[in-house]
């Protein structure tokens, strides 16, 4: 390299200026060119729909017919819309009911899978299987399991003398059933991510802790959990995004006409369902756009709270 470089140095002065500029551009510009495809695609499929949806939300925009600019009127109405707040409450409620036990279970699974035992790989692959099944198929089967007159759950409960529960009819039972569907799919996935993070923790830390006399439980709380912090933030954020966008499970839980309303008293209508109801049942695109913008805001706020919370809870580095 050095002897090829040497003759180049003096030759540089004789090089035409445009070539120098080109070379400099290549140096500085090519990284941008390499990342450009992502941003171009994001621009077309991410940023444009995002901005356009916001633009639509400032209008009275029926699917067929005239559009009229109404400014922030949709947002004003939305803030006073009991059905919107009901959907927000359901979304957050189902999120909490599903995510808290899911994370506890996933952590426990990860710790268990992290130990040495026979057929490790088999079990590790096993926990991810529910995640690769189709969400619609899972929901349909769970709906059958929770069916009122011929469902498995009611049949088992019947054995204990409990009268048949109409799972879709009550708030608590529908949230529980939907949370179970979510957890069925995502517990294993999160467990694997936790497991990967746990295996990245240096063994020396545990050895040192063991020498200091820390029990296994103490090691978990003082070594494993703090070092899982970035992973916890990641999984929580993906769960929030998934939770706020929860759609298929509650939609297919009570299928048929008006399924988009999420139950007879809207007891399990989520925000995305309310968005679709406004867009595609009522054909009010402007209002649906406003709901979409509110979902965006909600994800942003909860994510920030989450980052702050995890930092507080598990200590900061």
């Amino acid at each position: 390299m050095s002897d090829t470089l040497a003759p180049v140095q003096p030759a540089q002065t004789t090089r035409p200026a445009w070539r120098v500029r080109l070379s400099r551009l290549d140096h500085k510009g090519s990284p941008y060119a390499f990342v450009a495809p992502f941003f171009i695609f994001f621009g077309i499929f991410g940023a444009f729909p995002l901005i356009y949806t916001f633009w639509v939300s400032l209008h009275d925009w029926p699917l067929l017919g005239e559009h009229a600019f109404t400014g922030l009127e949709n947002y004003q109405n939305l803030l006073q819309d009991a059905q919107f707040w009901n959907a927000a409450k359901n979304t957050l409620g189902i999120f909490v009911v599903s995510t808290v036990p899911q994370f506890a279970l996933a952590l426990w699974l990860a710790v268990t899978l992290n130990r040495k035992f026979r057929a490790q790989t088999l079990f590790r692959v096993g926990v991810i299987i529910p995640n690769v099944t189709s969400v619609a198929a899972v929901t349909l089967i769970f709906s059958m399991i929770f069916a009122k007159s011929f469902g498995l759950v009611n049949w088992v409960l019947g054995g204990f003398g409990v009268t048949a529960i109409d799972w879709a009819a009550h708030t608590w039972s529908s949230w529980l059933a939907i949370s179970l569907m979510v957890d069925w799919r995502w517990t294993g996935y999160n467990a694997l991510i936790f497991l990967a993070a746990m295996q990245a923790i240096p063994k020396e830390l545990y050895e040192a802790a063991a020498i200091d006399g820390a029990s296994r439980t103490r090691q978990f709380w003082s070594v494993t959990l703090p070092l899982l912090r970035p992973t916890l933030i990641f999984t929580t954020i993906t769960s929030i995004i998934g939770g706020v966008q929860l759609f298929t499970e509650p939609l297919l839980f009570a299928p048929g006409a008006g399924a988009i309303q999420g139950g007879t008293t809207r007891q399990f209508q989520t925000l995305t369902m309310y968005l679709i109801e406004n867009g595609f049942t009522r054909f009010e695109f402007g209002y649906a756009g406003a709901v979409a913008a509110m979902i965006f805001l909600l994800v942003l706020i909860i994510s920030l709270i989450n980052i702050w919370l995890v930092r507080r809870l598990v200590g900061s580095d």
Binding site: T53, L64, I237, R282, F283
Partner: protein, 436 residues
């Protein structure tokens, strides 16, 4: 990875994913038919559910060798109407000839400029009953965007074997005589439930009866349901709505409903049980019963008249969107499919009740007996009622309001609300669904 980079990536992930939440479903589209260089013309026909057009397509292609028909069918009406509305709004992808259901026609009439006006193309009004034409025509009468296919004449389907067990008559004329009014119907129901014992109920659901009664009452007066003909929401002031609501609640009060949600897997499965014995039965419902109950129940069903007089619920139209590049040929095909002869073919294939008065005296229809329904003279039962029906106007947002009201009625059925609470809720739901 540095902490700042991690932070940036985190924010990016949040923003990107939240952006996904914002992205509303894009609609797929493909262009309508194109004339090939060899003069071959492809026509795209979109329908939902069962139209019984397969024979007609073959016949038409045989008679017009230069035409190729590409038919697409969607099982779910709600999905179909949503997709169609999007494509009509987007200006492409809708197909050359499209089916529009009764509940969606008002919305399409509002956008009449996006459809071919059949009045400019030799519209023969006499081919359809008057009220059917009115549904597809603009209020000023200047534009007709749809040609009628079938109608949903109302009747009552019942299980003869269960009636016999409960000691009720099984002959369709005697059964019809049991319930001239809905009050009588409820009395018969109470009698049935008492005698049948156990968990057996009389009707499948409250909503099915509700919808039938609403269309009946609205047909008598005032000729509209949730919206008046100027599209003002009249949910709480229309006596027809209140009457249908009260009657449906009386059925619930008497504990006659099996509490099923119509058109769900649970409802489908219940046809293979003895959970209920009667079912409000628009003509197209006979197809659902046959499919759901299956061969084991052949001959165990029969059809009687519906309490409270006649009515029609459901039925469709064929329309040609102006976005079609083959309008002339598409118009010809739409006319062919909906002609009196075409309607008879669809009746033969799928039991779709013709909407043309020219067919009402056709012996093929009049004397038709449905084997599955104990040889019931379907034509006679359904036709008698629909001949002189008055049109019922279903507003632009009929479907949204109907979905909301059905849900409120179901909340009474499931014991979550009293009838009065649900009525107050229904008034609010109707307003929200109508956007007022």
């Amino acid at each position: 990875m540095s902490p700042t980079m991690r932070g940036t990536r985190r924010m990016l992930a949040v923003t990107a994913a939240a952006g996904l939440a914002l992205t509303m479903a894009a609609c797929g589209s493909d262009d309508g038919g194109d004339a090939g260089s060899d003069g071959q013309i492809t026509l795209k026909v979109s329908t939902f559910g069962t139209f019984g057009y397969d024979e007609l397509y073959k016949e038409y292609e045989a008679a017009n060798p230069n035409i190729k028909i590409v038919a697409s069918n969607e099982g779910d009406l709600g999905k179909y109407t949503t997709a169609l509305t999007q494509r009509i709004a987007a200006g492409s992808g809708a197909g050359d000839v499209v089916a529009i259901e009764e509940g969606a026609i008002a919305q399409m009439v509002k956008a009449a400029d996006r459809f071919v006006n059949f009045q400019d193309h030799g519209f023969e009004a006499g081919n359809w009953v008057d009220w059917k034409n009115k549904q597809a025509t603009t209020p000023d009468g200047s534009s007709t965007i749809g040609l009628g296919t079938d109608i949903g004449g109302l009747a009552m389907c019942y299980r003869t074997d269960l009636f016999e067990k409960a000691g009720l008559p099984t002959d369709r004329e005697e059964v019809s005589a049991l319930w001239p009014t809905w009050d009588d119907f409820i009395k018969v129901g109470k009698d049935y439930v008492a005698k049948a014992g156990g968990e057996a109920k009389f009707v499948d659901s409250s909503t099915n009866s509700y919808n039938s009664i609403l269309m009946q009452e609205a047909g008598i007066a005032p000729g509209y349901t949730y919206f008046d003909t100027e599209d003002n929401l009249v949910f709480d002031s229309n006596p027809a709505v209140k009457k249908a609501w009260d009657t449906a609640n009386a059925i619930l009060d008497a504990d006659l409903s099996a509490g099923l949600k119509t058109f769900t897997p649970e409802w489908d499965a219940a046809f293979k049980t003895d959970d209920f014995a009667v079912l409000g039965c628009p003509a197209w419902m006979t197809g659902n019963i046959k499919n759901n109950a299956g061969d084991d129940f052949a001959g165990k069903w029969d059809i009687a008249t519906i309490p409270g007089g006649t009515g029609s619920w459901g039925g469709s139209f064929m329309a040609v969107p102006t976005q079609s590049k083959q309008q002339e040929e598409a118009i010809k095909l739409a006319k062919f499919l909906t002609s009196p002869e075409g309607q008879m073919s669809a009746f033969g294939e799928a039991g779709a009740l013709p909407s043309s008065p020219k067919n009402f005296d056709n012996p093929e229809l009049k004397d038709f007996k449905n084997e599955y329904f104990s040889d019931a003279p379907i034509g006679e039962i359904f036709i008698d009622g629909v001949r002189d029906l008055k049109p019922v106007y279903l507003g632009e947002k009929n479907q949204a309001v109907r979905d909301a009201i059905e849900n409120d009625l179901r909340s009474v059925e499931q014991g979550q609300r009293t009838a009065d609470e649900a009525w107050q809720q229904a008034i609010a739901s109707a307003k929200a669904a109508a956007g007022v």
